[in-house]
């Protein structure tokens, strides 16, 4: 089958979006970019990823030894890791990544050879698949899969969870200091609060062009957070410039420290970050000072576990995924990481009762309904991504 025909077939059978012409153009060069298509699932057009390789056989025994995991910094509770090591008789070695693109590049060129990857998001899966970097999972090793929220047992980006297993879930909203901004006043302002010059010098947005440009879109009532329309993006750029001029925002990802420290009053944040904020409150300050406004229309997302094709310890990797999806283990993990496990048993009530989160942050908890209602950030075509980059560099250029 010709490559062009293969891509056409893939598109017809999987649904979703394939960046066909660009891939074909790339194939003319010496790049090793792809041996398959870039398949991007969306909530409206879920994708079943084509099977590449076979899952490991059922009932294999643990390989023992050292399992190498690729993870974000501080993204798994060290106590949970120690418990896992003890329970399964293995040693866990971690490599850290801080950028999905860079991690994928290192996986492709063999610099990194982990047995398990933790924390990639659905914007990465198309590329992981295109480079055939991950292997299909054998669900018989992951009975705790049933603990996941129903929607995430069958995610739109990987129907049937053939390659991935969801871990944490979050939504975007506005974190703020209740002792400085009245909650009802903030709720009345909604997204407009981020443009309120009264918060000049005390406000921050996320240092992520996808999230912050989406904020400008959502504030303007545009719900397509993956828009490739140049006019819409030009308007978003103007909107962000207005935000910048009115509030002199900080652009970073440390609001979970700065808000509790009292160095800022309000910040556009991932809900997982505000759930982490109470750990950074100065001594003598209670968590009542922290608040989170969760918009009706916002972005929700999740990350996932996946096992590289080159994993030397796939059985232990499966066991670790299953372990981290255990209800009790997941809550223990959250008590360190802050981010909320995507499990049915994890509810606002259970988290408050177990003391994992304070009552003041109840709105930051994302349940299945909120998750399903949220907008998803998905991979963009290179042309659209370039437009988004232009908006961002204009905003950050000051």
């Amino acid at each position: 089958m010709e490559r062009r025909d293969f891509l056409k077939t893939l598109f017809a059978t999987t649904g979703g979006i394939i960046i066909g012409p660009s891939i074909l153009a790339a194939c003319g060069g010496t790049t090793t970019s792809s041996s398959t298509g870039l398949i991007i699932g969306t909530p409206d057009s879920p994708v079943t990823l084509p099977l590449v390789g076979e899952p490991i056989a059922d009932g294999l025994t643990n390989e023992g030894g050292t399992i190498e995991i690729l993870n974000w910094a501080d993204y798994t509770n060290p106590e949970v890791i120690a418990d896992f090591e003890k329970a399964f008789g293995v040693t866990v070695k971690q490599s850290i990544y801080d950028n999905e693109d860079a991690a994928i590049a290192k996986l492709r060129n063999g610099t990194l050879k982990p047995d398990l990857i933790i924390g990639m998001t659905d914007t990465a899966i198309a590329r992981l698949m295109a480079a055939e970097l991950i292997q299909p999972l054998n669900h018989s090793y992951i009975p705790n899969k049933t603990n996941l929220l129903t929607g995430l047992q069958n995610p739109y980006y990987d129907q049937g969870a053939q390659y991935t297993m969801a871990q944490f879930i979050y939504g975007n909203g506005i974190g703020y200091r209740k002792d400085r901004i009245d909650p009802s006043e903030l709720a009345a302002q909604g997204y407009d609060a981020m443009w309120n010059s009264a918060y000049n010098g005390k406000l921050a947005v996320i240092d992520s062009y996808r999230d912050t440009i989406s904020l400008a879109l959502l504030q303007a009532g545009v719900t397509d957070v993956n828009s490739g329309d140049a006019d819409i993006l030009a308007a978003a750029k103007e909107n962000l410039i207005r935000l910048r001029d009115a509030t002199s925002p900080k652009v970073d990802i440390i609001s979970y420290q700065e808000l509790p420290a009292g160095n800022r009053d309000i910040a556009y944040m991932w809900s997982g970050d505000i759930l982490l904020a109470p750990f950074y409150l100065p001594e003598g300050t209670t968590a009542d000072v922290l608040g989170f406004w969760y918009p009706d229309t916002t972005i929700t997302a999740n990350d996932f576990f996946c096992i590289p094709m080159t994993s030397a310890k796939p059985v232990v990797a499966h066991q670790m995924i299953n372990y981290l999806l255990d209800n009790d283990v997941a809550v223990k993990n959250q008590s360190y990481v802050g981010y909320q496990p995507a499990l049915t048993s994890v509810t606002a009530e259970s988290l408050i009762n177990s003391g994992v989160i304070p009552e003041s942050l109840v709105d930051a908890v994302v349940d299945d309904t909120k998750y399903q209602a949220g907008k998803r950030i998905t991979s963009l075509t290179p042309e659209t991504d370039a437009l988004w980059n232009d908006v961002w560099t204009t905003f950050t250029a000051g």
């Binding site: 960046i19 660009s22 891939i23 153009a25 790339a26 060069g29 790049t31 970019s33 792809s34 870039l38 950028n99 693109d101 860079a102 994928i104 590049a105 492709r108 198309a126 590329r127 295109a130 480079a131 010098g201 240092d207 062009y209 910048r244 002199s248 925002p249 900080k250 652009v251 970073d252 420290a261 009292g262 160095n263 100065p282 963009l380 075509t381 290179p382 991504d385 370039a386 980059n389 961002w392 560099t393 204009t394 905003f395 950050t396 250029a397 000051g398």
Partner: protein
Amino acid sequence: MNKAARIWAALAAPGAFWLLFFFAVPFYAVACVAFGSVDPIFRDAIPQWNPLNWSFGEFNAVFSSVTSGPLRGVFARTIVYVISAMIICFAIGFPVAYYLARHAGKRRMLLLLLIIAPFWVNYLMRMLAWVNLLSPSGLFSRFVGIFGVQYNWLDGSPITVILGLVYGYIPFLILPLYATLERLDWRLVEAARDLGATSRQAFRVVTVPMAKAGVAAAAILIALPMFGDYYTNDLLSRSPKTEMLGNQIDFYINNSSQPQRGAVLVIMLSTLLLVALSWYLRSTSRIGKERVR
């Protein structure tokens, strides 16, 4: 060329070749990225190694942004920050180097050690310490608050970024300046005084011209890394108001689908710095010739 000169040339050749190779090859690689393309799937740069096939689309886009778009402000801001930081570095560093070279006496090595000691600590740790000290509840902010100074140093303040650059790079100015001043022939200054020059005149007419080469070397030594610096701004400000060229390069290379633009900015910055370096080489060679005369 006599025998001695040939021996020295032979000894210098490996080092010169090493430097040339490790400048020329990476620079060519950056150019190949800048004028190459991007993998549409993985967003990696695809260098175009054949100059005949170079594409100048991204270069033109960046050039237009630098001349009349958002990058113009970033370029101008970076130049202003670096020049301001250099002026402050000289205002602080020259007297220190002068004192060490002329008046420190037996305490010279101890003082030199004390100046350098803080810089044995990792740059990141030192900057994070400043973040702590300068935060509204930090020790420094509280201390200056006693005198009625209420200023949010970390509120995306250009002053903080400039002072951060000064703090980060000043030892690299003091050391070459000290080395230059320490080797000056101070008998010439004494002769000037004997001939009736005031101390100020002797400094201006004798010391400064003799120290020119060291001043130029120190200026170049701190300017080069300052122009590409992005982490000082990242740690002390992270505000669009203080965005520097290094931050834009960081974004394009690490977080965007347009790494060629980052490479183009690197080339533009390198060209600017090469001009400065040429001026340094010309001025030092002129000073050398004057001395020979």
